[in-house]
Amino acid sequence: MANERIILVTGAAGYWGNRVATRLLDQDDAHVIGIDDTTPQHTVDGLDFIQADLRNPLLVELLQEEQVETVIHLKFRETLTPSESSFEQNVMGTAKLLGACGEAGVARVILKSSQMVYGARPDNPMFMREDHPFNGNKKYGYVRDWIEIEKYADSFHEQHPETVMTVLRFGNIVGPKADTPMTRFLREEEAITLLGFDPMIQIIHEDDVVSALVHAAADDYPGAFNVAPEKGMPLWKALGLATKLPIPILHPFAYWSVSLGGPRLAPLPLDYLRFPCMGDMQRMRDVLQFTPQYTPEETVREFSAQQRVRKLLGKKSRETFEQDRLRDTIQRRKRLRERGGGPKRARRAAQAE
């Protein structure tokens, strides 16, 4: 147990913390400490769980005592409207955690962020590189919190160049279990869209998100990375694959009603339904050396199949969806085999399956 890696996962009681901790524990050489301020609903076998708040000043001592090598920061509360409590928890929590990491000399810090920080604007390049400024709309709670967290990460990197700082900016995360802005948008009965606008969006599967986080923890990958499948799809195509009938609304009216009723009316900021906000995946391919396994089509199909099964449609349609899912899985595994020298973690995960 001499060369055991000690990894601390924040937000271990949440969905992402749970998933990432489980995957890390599958690796033989990892000792995983989970930390969260609430007790987990689903316990993970072998997880060393500690109940604590990230803003606790004694966190430095904990990191030093446990000789934590890698920190994966997944504690994030997604709120639509900017609120003081979520800002306190998300941004101040991250700031305190980063401070503690610098003090304790943690080797690696991995942050989970979103490509939404770039903001959806008409003059955006179609594929934004990681050095694009953060123009996200700060009227939305989680977009604002992500931007603030990224700013803290930037200044932390300047102050502690010896700590490897990895920021993974994911595209729109969709999956049967995850709860993200995009799944909330696709789960609604009526999908509110803007009349005459059909931007391209990038969709990544929840399993690929977990894989990317675990992959980033395995080695030093300094810097920020956009993570999503390279090819996007039009928003209306995603709605079609999710069998949602889009309800187009004239955009001035939509903006007006959202400003009246608060952002709660639309799970996704309207800008993201109007202009493209996509990332350039060159750094993900060349530096991070990570390839998402799911194509966006497969992801949305699986999501919508699960939605329909949940609604207890007839047996026959369920079988069709099962067939679709198996076909996608076969295709995905075939692609993985053809790639051969793909990422180590992904191959191991495929073997484990």
Binding site: P122, D123, M233, K237, A238, L241
Partner: protein, 457 residues
């Protein structure tokens, strides 16, 4: 009248199956309906009349198979549109017309009888065509061949010219039109249903080939018929690899880009897809942003242009921007400033040759007399032209004038001889910008010197 009975059976079979779209059912139905059923006389005469009318326009000189197909199509039309009572009544009240119809009908019946016998002898396993657009298309194609082969285009045209207005609106024409419309509609609905299920594909920039195929006929019409574009210098566009087309911009609406693209698609041997870069005001407009993206056009900025060029696309830029497209009529063919030379920077970085393009004729499609600053500011447009027709005539004022267009493509200006990092050399950039601008201006002047008339060329 044994042949008539046989025909009747055939007719009934076709009529009953026209509504179903299943081929197997159709075959069964024709077997079932083989014994002739006694029909009221009126129905028989109506069928005869209907077939007789058909012969009038197309004459009974056609291949046996196509005759049967025509009958089949006829039967479909019959089932779709049961009756148009006014015209029928008129037919019955006019004895002379009836007489003529009867004679023609008998002539056709004879022909059909022969045809059916021949078909049955040749292929006993012959099955009727499916009642789907593809089947219709085939039937029409076969008939057209038969008509042109025997009668020739010239006499067909004469025959059409001889048609009386009254004959143009007879039952069969209307039924035929209705059938075609119905099938087109059904086909479109099928496509729409499929697209609503998300079963279509785009490239990474959002280009949708199905959408392009759907709107292309309109642009082909504008290119070939309306503006009668003549394109010169296509040999300067490479068959593959990156290249940057640099064109003047004019005509209030950015239609010149579409015409260059259509011209290259139509006439270039490699039929390349051109990706034009559009200004950042368009993505804020509903439908415009959607249509431009689906048509393969891309927002103009350095990152996009560079990525497109490194992917070896054919990219078109209009460095004049709004200043060029919103030009006043008195300033026509005077090139505005070529931006800040961003296109040269991108071309140098991607080492792509710059190909100058001069469009003549687009300037006169709209006659902009004045640019209203207040109105433009009010509705958020970059410019608001006031022409003799716009905005006074409303949407009618948007109809462009049918000028004659010339698109000249000049010789490529290579950029690969400059060393790496030349994209930061401001001197070189401004020098190349001026060179391209002068080339385009000279090409415009050359063409204008030769042009005698705005509308006739």
């Amino acid at each position: 009248m044994e042949s008539v009975n046989e025909l009747e059976a055939l007719y009934n079979a076709a009529a009953t199956t026209a509504v179903s779209t299943n081929g197997d059912e159709m075959a069964n139905a024709s077997d079932d309906a083989a014994p002739p059923v006694a029909k009221p006389a009126r129905k028989k005469s109506a069928a005869k009349k209907a077939t007789a009318r058909k012969t009038k326009t197309k004459r009974a000189r056609r291949a046996p198979r196509s005759a049967r197909q025509t009958l089949h199509a006829q039967a479909q039309a019959e089932s779709v549109l049961d009756d148009l009572p006014d015209v029928q009544a008129e037919l019955e009240n006019n004895p002379e017309l009836q007489k003529r119809n009867q004679a023609l009908g008998e002539e056709l019946l004879h022909e059909l009888e022969m045809a059916i016998k021949r078909v049955m002898r040749l292929s006993p396993a012959y099955k009727t065509k499916l009642a789907v657009p593809e089947g219709m298309q085939e039937a029409i194609d076969a008939n057209l061949d038969a008509v042109t082969a025997s009668a020739g285009g010239g006499s067909l045209l004469k025959r059409f010219q001889k048609l009386l207005p009254g004959e143009m609106i007879d039952t069969d024409t209307l039924k035929g039109m209705w059938t075609m419309l119905k099938f087109t509609g059904e086909y479109q609905v099928d496509v729409l249903k499929r697209r609503l299920k998300g079963d279509y594909d785009t490239d990474e920039w959002g280009m949708d080939q199905e959408f392009i195929d759907a709107v292309r006929p309109l642009f082909d019409f504008m290119y070939n018929r309306y503006w009668r574009v003549s394109m010169a210098g296509l040999e300067n566009v490479p068959d593959d690899g990156r290249a940057l087309l640099v064109s003047n911009h004019s005509g209030q609406l950015p239609l010149d880009g579409a015409m260059i693209g259509i011209g290259i698609l139509q006439h270039h041997p490699a039929s390349r897809m051109m990706r034009a870069l559009y200004a950042n005001w368009f993505p804020t407009l509903p439908f415009v942003s959607d249509i431009l993206t689906k048509a393969g056009q891309v927002m103009a900025n350095d990152e996009n242009a560079e990525r497109l060029l490194t992917q070896d696309h054919l990219v078109a830029v209009f460095p004049e921007g709004y200043k060029g497209v919103g030009k006043l009529y008195k300033d026509r063919y005077h090139l505005a400033r070529f931006g800040r030379g961003g296109f040269v920077r991108v071309a140098l970085k991607a080492k792509a040759p710059m190909i100058p393009v001069a469009v003549v004729g687009a300037e006169e499609t709209y006659i902009s007399l004045h640019k209203s600053q207040t109105l433009a500011k009010l509705i958020g447009f970059p410019y608001f032209p006031i022409s003799p027709t716009f905005p006074w005539l409303g949407p009618l004022g948007l109809i462009p004038l049918p000028t004659k267009w010339y698109i000249d493509i000049g010789e490529p200006i290579p950029t690969d001889q400059y060393p790496d990092g030349s994209e930061n050399n401001l001197m070189l950039i401004s020098q190349l910008t001026d060179q391209v601008r002068d080339t385009v201006q000279n090409m415009l002047n050359d063409r204008l010197r030769q042009r005698k008339s705005i509308f006739m060329g």
